[in-house]
């Protein structure tokens, strides 16, 4: 039996067709063995250092502090990772495990395209076949990343069902996995899915929080008062929070997508507005109809446009350890513009949701100590969409 967490409180589990259960067992066993293998750890650490560019910097954003009249504000620069977001931390780790398991084919789902690019990158690095499932709507709004995946030698498979976003892409990826499970590893891109995925993804992303904690201590001689991250499926957030869960005095804030406003009904706030249910293999908070049909999420940010969330976040929500709030499309765009102007950093629209929460609440947080923001990715992929929304001509 694996030592990897299967549940977080009542949440998590393995609600998938029986066909893939042995593959989940195999993945858990392979990860268990790898985790204790110094050679694996050294290989992963080496790749994170020399290929991904870790540790990523911690940067004090002083002009943003002036803009928000809050601070100190520190940005954890996951946007400076190779490929432009935290997603590569997970993709590299999982592809290494896939190679140990002797799998030749890699599949992934992607919303914003960052996880697809990260997986295509890792597959190219190890010479593996890679297919990425992406909703048609997301292919349009994150076109740059579709081009990148193609350049990296991955096949991007459009998913036309429903709203053509992350939910449908994930369902399609799981169905492909059910069909090709013997030779294929499914690299899930967030801390979601059936066990052991949520725990493995959280562990692979925990490098964010572990580095950040030491870096803030170095810079300030104290812990942050508040740590904030955006929550789509929840991988950058859980990776960051894992560094601080044991520090009771550190307030943790997760920011979901409020879309065009919670009251409009068009949002992605599963923790704020959803109820427990089963989607994509685990029990967690979910946007759903009273009959249990999964609802469509809405967000300007493709990476947060998902009606589910990782099971550990559901547990942390119920336990009150993390406070989950939300930011609207407009608030995110405003924060996006503010970081561009004040710091010369173009953030991802996902990460802009975390910044928007600082804009709104930062002054109050500042009194409790430094604010640490997970800048999960860069905004190159979003420039077309943001320019249009902001009325900027090319």
């Amino acid at each position: 039996m694996t030592t990897i967490a299967q549940r977080f409180g009542p949440y998590g589990g393995r609600y998938v067709p029986e066909t893939v259960i042995p593959a989940l067992d195999e993945f858990a066993a392979a990860y268990d063995a790898a985790r204790d293998d110094p050679a694996f750890r050294a290989e992963l650490a080496g790749l994170l250092r020399d290929y991904v560019g870790r540790p990523t910097p911690l940067y004090r954003a002083e002009r943003l502090e002036a803009e928000y009249q809050a601070g100190p504000i520190y940005l954890k620069r996951e946007d400076l990772c190779h490929t432009g977001a935290h997603k590569i931390n997970n993709a590299i780790g999982q592809v290494l495990i896939a190679r140990r398991m002797g799998k030749r084919r890699i599949i992934a789902e992607t919303g914003a395209g960052q996880h697809g690019v990260a997986t295509a990158t890792a597959a190219a690095l190890f010479g593996m076949e890679c297919v990425v499932f992406m909703g048609r709507t997301d292919m349009r709004r994150q076109r740059l990343n579709v081009i990148r995946m193609n350049m990296l030698g991955a096949e991007v498979r459009p998913v036309d069902a429903g709203s053509g976003t992350l939910k449908q892409a994930t369902s399609e990826a799981i169905r492909d996995w059910v069909t090709h499970v013997r030779d294929t590893h499914y690299v899930i891109g967030s801390a979601v899915g059936p066990a052991p995925y949520p725990e493995i993804v959280a562990e692979l992303q925990s490098v964010i929080g572990i580095e950040s904690r030491a870096q803030v201590m170095d810079a300030e001689g104290r812990l942050p008062g508040t740590v904030v991250a955006c929550v789509g499926g929840g991988s950058n957030a859980i990776g960051m929070f894992r560094g601080f869960l044991g520090d009771g005095g550190v307030a943790l804030v997760g920011v979901e997508a409020a879309g065009t406003g919670i009251s409009s009904g068009l949002h992605g706030a599963s923790l704020g507005e959803g109820s427990p249910g089963v989607l994509h293999g685990s029990l967690s908070y979910l946007l759903q109809t009273p009959e249990g049909q999964v609802a469509e999420a809405h967000s300007i940010s493709a990476g947060l446009d998902y009606p589910g969330v990782g099971p550990e976040h559901s547990h942390l929500r119920d336990a009150g350890r993390v406070r989950y709030v939300s930011a609207t499309d407009d608030e995110a765009l405003e924060a996006f513009g503010a970081l561009c102007r004040t710091q010369g950093i173009i953030p991802a629209l996902e990460s802009s949701h975390a910044l928007a929460a600082v804009a709104r609440e930062g002054r109050a947080w500042g009194t409790k100590g430094p604010i640490l923001v997970c800048l999960s990715g860069r905004g190159d992929k979003d420039v077309d969409q943001a320019a249009e929304a902001m009325g900027i001509d090319g």
Binding site: G13, R14, Y15, V16, P17, E18, T19, V20, I21, P22, A23, A161, G162, K167, Q168, S171, I174, R175, V178, T179, H180, V181, R182, G277, V278, L279, H280, G281, L286, Q288, T289, P290, E291, G292, Q293, V294
Partner: protein, 261 residues
């Protein structure tokens, strides 16, 4: 309350040939028309399997997904499909097939009671493996609805032993490593898989996924206790109409009887 597992056992005991289990999607092509589908297919069925459409099915291929989407777009809800089962309760025993979240949203106690009240004998939940869902199984037991387990070619002997502890009614062998709607290859591997399941679990074994022709059915009937025919019937309804689909079901039943062999 009638014991669903016992009614399914009787269906196997009463049949003189391997059972035919046609699958239909509740609410396809319309809710009204699916009553006619249930009766037409039921005429050839030993057990009738009715799907309840879910927004994000993980085990369905394109054909069943599309049929489910038609039902969802028309606003069909689980209670509609349970009512449909109730309408045809004078026919062969009905088993429902769906995904876990619809049962959980029920919640399970209410879902199972409604199903049992409609005369439903069993329930197949495609994303509920044997080591999950104690609460759902308890609710089913309370209501007298048999929880039917799925096993796949990838299922190890060790797991088959676990499935044996919770399986009720019959065991549903997924013929292929994959989703519904492909084509089964009836070969030694499939026969060996079914034999492996029969050794591990003392229940009738039914084979489904990819059974498309009377020849498939007859060949599988030589080593299994029944076959499920799904996507091919859905396709037939869509392309050629209900009479053609019923004709296919009739031909399958004849093939299982050994007619024309």
């Amino acid at each position: 309350m009638a014991d669903g597992a016992a009614r399914l056992r009787e269906a196997f005991a009463a049949a003189e040939r391997p059972l035919l289990v046609p699958y239909m999607m509740g609410g396809f092509p319309t809710l009204g028309a699916s009553r006619d589908v249930a009766r037409a297919l039921g005429a050839h069925a030993d057990i009738l399997e009715i799907g309840i459409a879910f927004s994000d099915p993980l085990a369905d291929g394109p054909t069943v997904q599309a049929a489910g989407q038609v039902a969802l777009d028309a606003g069909v809800v689980p209670d509609d499909v349970i009512a449909l089962a109730g309408d045809v309760r004078d026919g062969p025993p009905v088993v429902l097939m769906t995904c876990l979240n619809l049962v959980m949203a029920g919640p399970p106690e209410r879902f199972m009671r409604a199903a049992a009240d409609a005369g439903v004998a069993g329930l197949i939940v495609s994303d509920l493996p044997c080591d999950e869902g104690d609460d759902v199984r308890a609710a089913a037991r309370q209501a007298g609805v048999a929880m039917i387990s799925l096993v796949a070619p990838t299922t190890t002997d060790e797991r088959l032993a676990d499935v044996a502890k919770v399986a009720e009614g019959f065991v549903y062998c997924v013929s292929v490593t994959g989703v519904t709607g492909g084509a089964v290859s009836v070969d030694d591997d499939l026969a060996a898989f079914v034999a492996r399941v029969k050794r591990a679990i003392p229940l009738p074994v039914v084979v489904g996924f990819g059974v498309q022709t009377p020849e498939h059915a007859a060949a599988i009937g030589r080593f299994a206790d029944g076959v499920v025919v799904g996507s091919q019937l859905v396709r037939a309804i869509e392309r050629d109409g209900l009479d053609a689909a019923a004709g296919l079901a009739g031909a399958m039943a004849a093939a299982l009887r050994g007619d024309g062999n």
